[in-house]
Amino acid sequence: MTDAITIKKLTYAYPDQEALFKDFNLSVAVGEWLAIVGHNGSGKSTLAKLILGLLDFDEGQVTVFGQVLSEQSLSAIRRQVGMVFQNPDNQFVGATVADDVAFGLENHQLPSIEMPAKIERALKQVGMADFADREPHTLSGGQKQRVAMASVLALEPKVIILDEATAMLDPEGKQALLQNLKELKARYQDELTLIMITHDMEEAAMADRVAVIDDGRLVFDEKPETLFLKGDRLRALGLAQPFAMDLQKSLGIMNPSYLTTQELATWLSTLKA
């Protein structure tokens, strides 16, 4: 089966700098939920920009659903891959919530008459339908990010990349967005591939697979269950591990079955003297 995204022998350097990526390989299966983690400056966000052709790589090949990324295929690829960026303010194009969701549809030249239904559907999926006529400066950061999510969903992409989408949100906004992601993934199952770029290990734990990047190198590429057993290695890379694993370490155990505090608490309760 073709992968959703394949990166082969990618080499990229920012102007006048040493190569960030050298012969970098990574593939994402269709319907997979992949977390790409790494400390600030590890190159994880650059990777997202390379996949979407926002930066041009020097060598190598990026393939999206079998289609090789090139100047000719760029628009077609962007129709399949949506992206939510870090700063909630800097990706809000429209004057109102509905106008913002409409922006992509207008670019895709959808007839005006079909837009209201699509906009409403997309806003419903992120729980923002009641805010259609609101202006961006009246929304919280978390609400703006959900609108950005709706704007991407309205275009019905097969892959959504979230580039540190929760980094600038307060805990409430962050939880709402993550909850929303879970619901979307549950609804679309294999029709939706998620790539979440983050340095938050709680988020990484939600994924099927975690790719750890350090200075442009793929250091680990495995399930969260096994990755989080490597607490010391992660710390050395400037990362953390989920609290449940921290506590397990303090308890003197290492059991990858209990990645969340809920699972760990339930298990400990059964062992109570």
């Binding site: 400390h39 549950a186 057993l229 953390a240 506590l247 303090s250 308890l251 059991n255 309760s269 062992l271």
Partner: protein, 312 residues
């Protein structure tokens, strides 16, 4: 230097358009301690801390900042002296960088407050060392640095003023775990050096790890003002009503307590919590094997409660 907030009201706008933000605040910021100010977005935290260095003047009531008294009538010219004593680090402070070189940017504060260029330079170098930037950075443009390094330069810009009291608004926002760790250490060092710290944070782990005292804001009013231990010993329902998270250690401890575990004190760290848990657990025979058993039998644990997307 003591900061006393006495009966302070604050509102944006006037007349019919008046939006009250702070209502009758009574507060003392204790010296040489870290006071955390928490509360959900829109509760008035940021407006409150702007009273501490007179960026905003109270609509009613008064703020005593060391020798200075600020009321609604205080003249703008009298406020600059206050700002030399109370430093303010805003959220995403890297947005304030402007100078052609790192060292000039950090010298900006000291020079404004009347330091001689030579002394300002010395203060800037000391501050940059404090945030972990060496001499190779001095003559670089701040705009060529990474996000994390820019944050350090901005922090140094306030440290160089050497204010007795320092206010930090979400200083760790957007930093990776290693960066956050370093920032926590910096705040601890400042306290050890005798500074008074005020910290706004959404991250309860930071509050638990750092704060001596916590002020909880809710809808422009002080909902709690007590030691960090007293605060987190409050019942979970109270935090839910305030729309606040609990630190993970505390949440976990409360969860186990609800399941019948008995704890004699609030655990501040994972190690502390583990010790208290271990005392109450009857690890089945062959302790080590049992504990690590699932390493080799992963399939034993159902993962279905993580939602429908996790299919293997």
């Amino acid at each position: 230097m003591v900061i006393n907030i006495e009966g302070v009201d604050f509102a944006y706008g006037t007349g019919k358009q008046e939006v009250p933000v702070l209502k009758d605040i009574q507060l003392t910021i204790p010296e040489n301690q870290i006071t955390a100010i928490i509360g959900q977005t829109g509760s008035g935290k940021s407006t409150l801390v702007q009273q501490l260095n007179a960026l905003l003047k109270p609509t009613a009531g008064q703020v005593q900042i060391g020798q200075h008294l600020v009321t609604s009538q205080t003249k703008e010219k009298q406020l600059t002296a206050i700002r030399a004593e109370v430093g303010m680090v805003f959220q995403f402070p890297e947005a304030q960088l402007f100078a052609p070189t790192v060292i000039e940017d950090v010298m900006y504060g000291p020079l404004n407050f009347g330091a001689e260029p030579k002394d300002a330079r010395a203060a800037a170098e000391k501050a940059l060392t404090q945030v972990g930037l060496d001499a190779t950075f001095y003559d670089q443009s701040p705009f060529n640095l990474s996000g994390g390094q820019m944050r350090r330069v901005a922090l140094a810009g306030v440290l160089a003023m050497d204010p007795q009291t320092m206010v930090f608004d979400e200083p760790a926002a957007g930093l990776d775990p290693a960066g956050q760790e370093e920032l926590l250490q910096l705040l601890k060092d400042l306290r050890a050096a005798g500074k008074t710290i005020v910290l706004i944070s959404h991250q309860m782990e930071q509050v638990l790890a750092l704060a001596d005292r916590v002020v909880v804001m809710n809808d422009g009013q002080v909902a709690a003002d007590e030691t960090v231990t007293a605060l987190f010993e409050r019942p979970q329902s109270w935090f839910e009503a305030q729309h606040l998270d609990l630190p993970e250690t505390v949440a976990f401890q409360k969860q186990l307590a609800a399941a019948g575990f008995i704890f004699d004190h609030l655990a501040k760290t994972a190690d502390d919590l583990a010790e208290q848990i271990n005392d109450q657990i009857d690890w089945p025979k062959g302790n080590a094997e049992q504990k690590n058993g699932a390493l080799t039998s992963q399939s034993a644990q159902p993962t279905s409660d993580k939602g429908g997307f996790r299919h293997e």
